[in-house]
């Protein structure tokens, strides 16, 4: 399996599917500690990405991610639009014009994405945000890539599993950023919707390579 432009297109297509399938779940999670719009916004954003992919086929993974960044930035709104837009843009920049992504490049792209989210949103680990999914994913991808034993699929899987565990880890946290922070202690006991959508995106990356 090589992570090339075809993989990237399949990844984004699976992201759109995942957002449509989990739209109601994300709305419900957001209803508990936010304002009920996350599922709707992510679904709208990735449907727009899908439409863009139908218009033209990107030549590199980086080009696909850059197109995704610009589309999410302009279609999603809320905090998620600029945050995911920045994440995809930084990942695209990290990948450059490469035709294929190796394990180290994937770990580097994830790190660039996470750093972009942190720079824009100013959230830290433990604030009950998407950062709590991204940081463990970056660490796991980096460890798998540096270990040398994992092929590229292994690195994708490591990142996705860590992101999913990271999303679950937000359950007991008290939100300190975003709209959930207004709830204070009442935000504990709910999973962060942005961490869940982040895990869905990284899981779709595995599906596209399988």
């Amino acid at each position: 399996m090589v992570l090339d432009a075809n993989w990237a297109v399949k990844w984004l297509t699976l992201c759109a599917q995942a957002m449509a399938e989990h739209r109601v779940e994300l709305i419900e999670l957001d209803r508990a500690i936010g304002d009920s719009d996350h599922g709707e916004n992510m679904d709208r954003g990735f449907q727009a990405v899908l439409a863009k992919l139908g218009e033209s086929t990107p030549e590199t993974p980086g080009a696909a991610l850059k197109m995704t960044a610009m589309t999410l930035m302009s279609k999603v709104g809320g905090a998620a639009g600029p945050l995911y837009g920045t994440a995809f843009l930084r990942a695209a920049t990290a990948l450059g014009d490469s035709a294929e992504i190796d394990p180290a490049a994937w770990a580097g792209a994830l790190q660039a994405a996470r750093d972009g989210i942190v720079a824009r949103g100013k959230a830290e680990s433990g604030d009950k945000t998407m950062v709590d999914a991204w940081t463990p994913a970056v660490d796991a991808a980096r460890a798998a890539a540096d270990g040398g034993s994992a092929d590229v699929l292994g690195v994708l899987v490591a990142a996705a599993e860590a992101a999913e565990a990271g999303a679950v880890s937000t359950d007991p946290m008290i939100a300190r950023k975003g709209r959930a922070s207004y709830l204070g202690e009442r935000s504990a006991g709910h999973r962060d919707p942005g961490a869940v959508s982040s895990a869905l995106i990284l899981r779709a990356a595995v599906g596209a390579a399988a």
Partner: protein, 333 residues
């Protein structure tokens, strides 16, 4: 869910179309990307004022586009901030060369999207200043939250900064007036019932028949705590206590008192709240110099209200009284 809509996905688009038809003499509507501008924009030599945010708070913001208030409003999806691809063209459309002030309610999404749009506008040579509105005393302003939300005070910032721009103040002066209003206004809200976002289809939070939520924002997001239902005077006392303590209102202060409906509360109830709020201010030795009562910044059909108190000085009072002609606010012209 019972709503006067055709399709949850077309709510904002169809509402904006109707708004444009109803107020064709005052505003111009751009549908794609969606934004509303003052009919005569850009006004030569005048600083442009742009605000925006999620839909569902009508008449905010589009209702305040017109002479003496906003030059452009940018509506997002319901309770979702607009995106830079809307904010940027709205900013460019109202820039006469004197620069543009963005009035932004302090929500993470609004801040990030307006910040991005301001960077893009600066890259195109437009000077942009941002006035952040964060008047909600229900939220502790600390490192542990996203900071105070922008709520009722937004209407007052838009009116008074709008008047400053209309009289010819320069970019920095208009922004400074907006910041002065924000520094002198505090707001606290209460919800008696939740609201239903059209695409979600169910109420934004669950509130029992005999419960109320104190410290509610304007997005149907839950507030600070909930308590058993009380009468209007007791609820008003709670809200006023929080507002006056935070604003440090003292004897001799002159204020503007703004009782705002959340969309599902009759005007008669708002006046009952207003009546008690005036008494509380009198007890504190403050005088109500100006008033505003009605549904000016709403949360769809939510039942409840917010109370805003703005400490006035002579200049702010003069700017409040200045002529305004918009779909939702009009006097002196």
């Amino acid at each position: 869910m019972k709503k006067l809509i055709n399709d949850p996905k077309s709510v904002v688009q169809e509402a904006v179309q109707g708004f444009g038809l109803a107020h064709a003499g005052l505003v111009t509507v751009s549908e794609d990307p969606t934004y509303i501008t003052r009919k005569d924009a850009p006004v030569a030599g005048k600083v442009g004022l742009v605000s925006g945010g999620g839909s569902g708070h009508e008449p905010l913001h589009a209702g305040y586009v017109g002479r003496g208030m906003l030059d452009a409003a940018v509506p997002g999806a319901v309770f979702t901030s607009p995106t830079p691809d809307q904010i940027l063209p709205a900013t460019l459309a109202v820039n006469s060369g004197a620069g543009v002030v963005h009035i932004v309610k302090n929500y993470t999404g609004d801040v990030l999207n307006f910040e991005t749009a301001a960077e893009l506008a600066e890259a195109e040579g437009v000077n942009v200043r941002t006035v952040l509105v964060n008047d909600d005393v229900a939220v502790e302003d600390s490192l542990y939250t996203a900071g105070r939300r922008g709520v009722g005070g937004t209407v007052l910032v838009e009116k008074i900064a709008g008047a400053a721009a209309e009289r010819g103040d320069n970019l920095d002066a208009v922004a400074a007036i907006g910041e002065r209003v924000n520094a002198n206004v505090r707001t606290m809200g209460v919800a008696l019932s939740a609201c239903t976002v059209p695409h979600a289809g169910t109420p934004s939070f669950d509130l029992a028949e005999d419960e109320i939520e104190i410290g509610i924002g304007i997005h149907g997001e839950p507030g600070r705590h909930r308590i058993p239902m009380e009468n209007a005077d007791s609820i008003t006392n709670r809200l006023m206590d929080a507002v006056l303590t935070d604003l440090k209102v003292s004897s001799g202060d002159k204020v503007l008192l703004f009782v705002n409906g959340m969309g599902g509360t009759p005007l008669s109830e708002l006046y009952i709240v207003y009546r008690r709020a005036v008494q509380v201010l009198a007890d504190a030795g403050a005088t109500v110099e100006r008033s505003l009562v009605g549904n000016y910044i709403t949360a769809l059909e939510m039942q409840g209200c917010s109370i805003s108190v703005l400490r006035l000085d002579d200049e702010l009072t003069e700017l409040w009284d200045a002529p305004v002609h918009t779909p939702a606010l009009r006097w002196g012209v």
